[in-house]
Point group: D2
Chain length 342, copies 4
């Protein structure tokens, strides 16, 4: 049994952490912090938790947090980097769901997030928490940077192709569609039901913060620079990411076998039979990435379809998968739910 | 460990039984039948089940079914009544999610379902599977008639008022709103996304099959005849029932206390604090009924708000709750999920 | 051709006024004001208007507004009452879509809106802009208070019953369901797509600001006090109100004929054939109220189903209907659209 | 005033034709046919038309149809080709919204539609009704093949690039997202609200019937063969197509100017300012295609965002635009609606 704290539990990744951790037999949830909601019982803010979580939000207290074995940060960027150094110093392990430690190049981070990084010395030590790539390093990590939602769906789809050098790395396209929960739980006009339902649109075509994160991961896989055209779309649904990925093949290869072999031992990547089309609802609430591989008209363009729940495999579920690896629990503990359908 | 079969697993109550039973430690799922889909792996029809359920659909075979300890019927009406007598004779217990055994008065059943009942002798022996009313009888029942979705939400809301004779029983109103999954998984124009989304409408105001079922239950609670005006509405969402119930008070009473006491020991009825408004999303995927009690302007009209997931507490979850009671398992086993929010 | 100004055009009733007025052959749209968006072209904020409306938002200027023949207020409450007295004094006619002049009893207004009314002297002179009741007074009015959305759907449904004294006025129930656009275009968590879609809930059961407005209108119709239990629900769709109304009959009467006669000459009230169920999508974008009358099991409870588009017949369309009457235009000019279906 | 008939008015393109034609001052709607619904008033099937369309459905009668100046076919494929030859012979002009006359190569048509074409001699004479390409031919055409919805959005987006030879024609990608109304008004499980809402998926990646139609049009524009990777997605909304198009630039060019010039005189193509992202809701119910042009990081990949309403500019609105051109009416008559927003 480990003692766990959550900093910033009022957003969607926070409530999802709570939903999943409530069923974890090895976790004792000790603290959940929120400055704005301090004193409010968690189950009052999130009525789905009534009868399951008795905690109330408290103000962050570094001593109480340091007393935990593990602290999750489910905060906007810049919050984690302010508190993490002290926690690491005191030996508390940290899983950060925000973007603070995802980019290894500080200058790139500072450019995209438009603020100085306050603990660049920790970046090198942070492990990028994509288990399908970094499982060994995750086991011993002190600090995990949980991948973003688009980066998870996109990297898992491109990895087998780039690792095996079967596509041109300088002409990658990711046309990605996200449910509205990707925008978080914050008052805004653009994500009102009245604005975002019955509507489809692209956004941030000129540049999205997940682009450098994805390119970083893909370049590591390809062992060379990559160039990705990344077009995210706001899709009228609550949860789900569907990434449609395009690459130009440089050789003839059995793509289906390539993917099946790459992920043969992965508990949370499901390669669908040839000819399939994954649906986001088949992963809703579940910690899994379902992938299908297509080569239309046997041409030189490969099309990968990759679906995740942005709040689970794209955030909180993956965070717990990291925790399970870090603490030697069965990797699937508490995150082996079946998607609710319909 | 008990052996369980499911007849008719291709509908929404079927896939929901599978989702929930897959997590039940005391259940071995032996058979799932479907004439139309025989031979197809369950996980091909319902991709959420990939990796969790290995069974394929088979044609119903009475010998194989009778070999089970328990058979669920997740079928349209008239299917169960054709097979249940033989199963009961052979000692297999049955939980019927359809309407075949819900009405104690055969003539009423035949009028509303417009067909003769083929085993009226079993009706008297069938137990109406609302645990909050019939827990003791459920324990020893051979045959359970699982309540309908509207009847569950409506009865749980009215019961404390009628049992305690604090409202006029001859002037009850239930204004109910159901998600589209209540109409089942069948090809139809009226429930296409294009027809049912961005739309609200009442239907069947002249008479709905759940009306006699509800009145039967409420009359038992009131120990006298009742008259219910029942207006169902098709609501643009997948899951959820919200019942708004109106009664005219005949005496002054602490309504909040009345409800809290009635359901104090019930694991799956949650009386919200005074002034609350239950949301269907707070019960989505979960086996719970959340209820709030209002008395606007302290007048003589009481307003009860009652929310369930029609496929869980309104169908498959409640069926498993019955099973747990029948077989002496902890009543909450495998149906204690937290609703997924958002 | 009349000169028209709009104060507060950045909300949903504002953009809907623009959509409808753009097609009005007798209207020259001169001014649209918004302090927060001054300088921004209207079509930049509302891209549906590109190519149809060339105006930009400006700061409100009393001289420019007073130069118009008519000014619409599409503002939150308290804005109109600050500007209207001066406009009225200068002879400009005003149609106020907000609540400032809807309640004839100042004390009631101040209680529900929790602020002093700054021009109570204008209240008596304001005409309540429900053409089906006040057409004659509207013709000559200087100041129109456009009814709220719930009040429009609810009053049109109850009027024939109360005017003819066929139901008990002290036991009225209105169970109303509104699309999310009723909450307006403002940043808020509760109406995010992630919070409001796939969800149904009641709200404000203890008291909603439309209640006194509805009771005022119904009391006038009944020529006596009325008591209404009013339960609004937030429904997961953009537009539409469905009001389900319940009354207890005090005499035997041909209800269908009663409604058909009451609205025989009304261009924007459509009494459906007996047995019908109006759908909100059949009025989406259209200035019409569709009503069906039911008497289940020929009992003593009458059920009225009343559907409108909250932004059209419940706000901007009705405002223009008032304008047409005031200025002697054909009453249906520019508001005779067919609902878009699907 | 011309006499117009519609064959097959029970689908979504049929009701949309009715909605739009009802407002056309030069059209007298004489006949609307449906074998399955003969005798039923149109307004009973489509309640939005109550008070606007008095016709009832009748069985198709070639003499009555031939008496019209123009007949629209809003039918599944193979219906038009059975009736059109006789109508053409008798001098009635025809606008076919189905696929029967869209492909100039009969063999390709027969392969994709898997049935013999029964009047191949008419194919050469049919004009492809994309006004932005074929306005002159449309004027005098006897037979128009209205483009499909995906083909309209995709061709309008690629045309300026291919006509000006600024992208590689053999490596085109169209990632397209369609609302569910694209699947038509027919009973089916896959497009139930319960299946298609809260879900995103690609479909028909191996090959979609619109692919040869699009390639035919693009090849004409490019004056050479083209190769398109076409991936359609089913999006959880009623109306709208969003096409995200990718091409590889072969030269440096002012893309924004290229598009603005190409469509400068087009009433129904709107090139948005640089940096924009068109939303499908901004074209909902309106006969317009809104396009934005992006060149991320000034690289060699151009991204075109193209949005239409699949039932208007993608079907019925475009059909009426063709009619207006054919009969010398103002091209925008009856199809100049403003999109309803929100």
């Amino acid at each position: 049994m480990i003692k766990v704290g959550i900093v910033g539990g009022t957003g969607y990744t926070g409530v999802e952490l709570l939903r999943l951790l409530a069923g974890h037999p090895e976790v004792s949830l000790e603290i959940i912090t929120s400055r704005s909601e301090k004193g409010m019982p968690v189950a009052e803010l999130f009525p789905n938790l009534r009868g399951h979580i008795d905690l109330a939000f408290t103000e962050p207290d570094i001593d109480l947090l340091a007393n935990c074995d593990l602290v999750f940060f489910a905060t906007p960027h810049t919050v984690a980097m302010a508190l993490v150094p002290e926690l690491i110093k005191r030996g508390t392990r940290v899983i950060d769901l925000s973007a603070d430690f995802r980019l290894q190049d500080v200058a790139v981070w500072e450019q995209w997030y438009n603020t100085p990084h306050t603990c660049p010395e920790l970046i090198a030590q942070a492990v990028y928490g994509l288990p399908e790539v970094n499982r060994a390093s995750i086991k011993t990590a002190q600090l995990i940077a949980v991948p973003g939602c688009y980066p998870t769906a996109t990297q898992l789809g491109f990895l087998p192709l780039l690792e095996n050098k079967v596509i041109e790395p300088m002409h990658l396209i990711a046309d990605t569609k996200s449910g509205v929960s990707g925008a978080g739980r914050k008052a805004a006009i653009g994500t009102l039901l009245t604005e975002a339902s019955e509507n489809m649109k692209a956004y941030a075509v000129a540049g999205h913060r997940h682009l450098p994160e994805i390119e970083q991961g893909l370049a590591l896989a390809a062992q060379q620079s990559v160039d990705l055209t990344f077009v995210p779309h706001l899709t009228p649904m609550i949860r789900g990411i569907h990434a449609t990925l395009y690459g130009r093949l440089t050789q003839d290869v059995d793509l289906q076998a390539l993917f099946e072999q790459r992920y043969a031992d992965e508990p949370f990547v499901d390669i669908l039979p040839a000819g399939s089309h994954p649906e986001t609802r088949s992963v809703r609430g579940a910690n899994i990435c379902r992938i299908a591989v297509h080569q239309p008209r046997d041409g030189d363009t490969v099309v990968i379809l990759s679906a995740i729940d942005n709040l689970v495999k794209g955030a909180s579920g993956q965070a717990i998968q990291n925790m399970n690896i870090m603490f030697g629990f069965d990797e699937t503990t508490a995150i082996n739910h079946i998607a609710t359908l319909p």
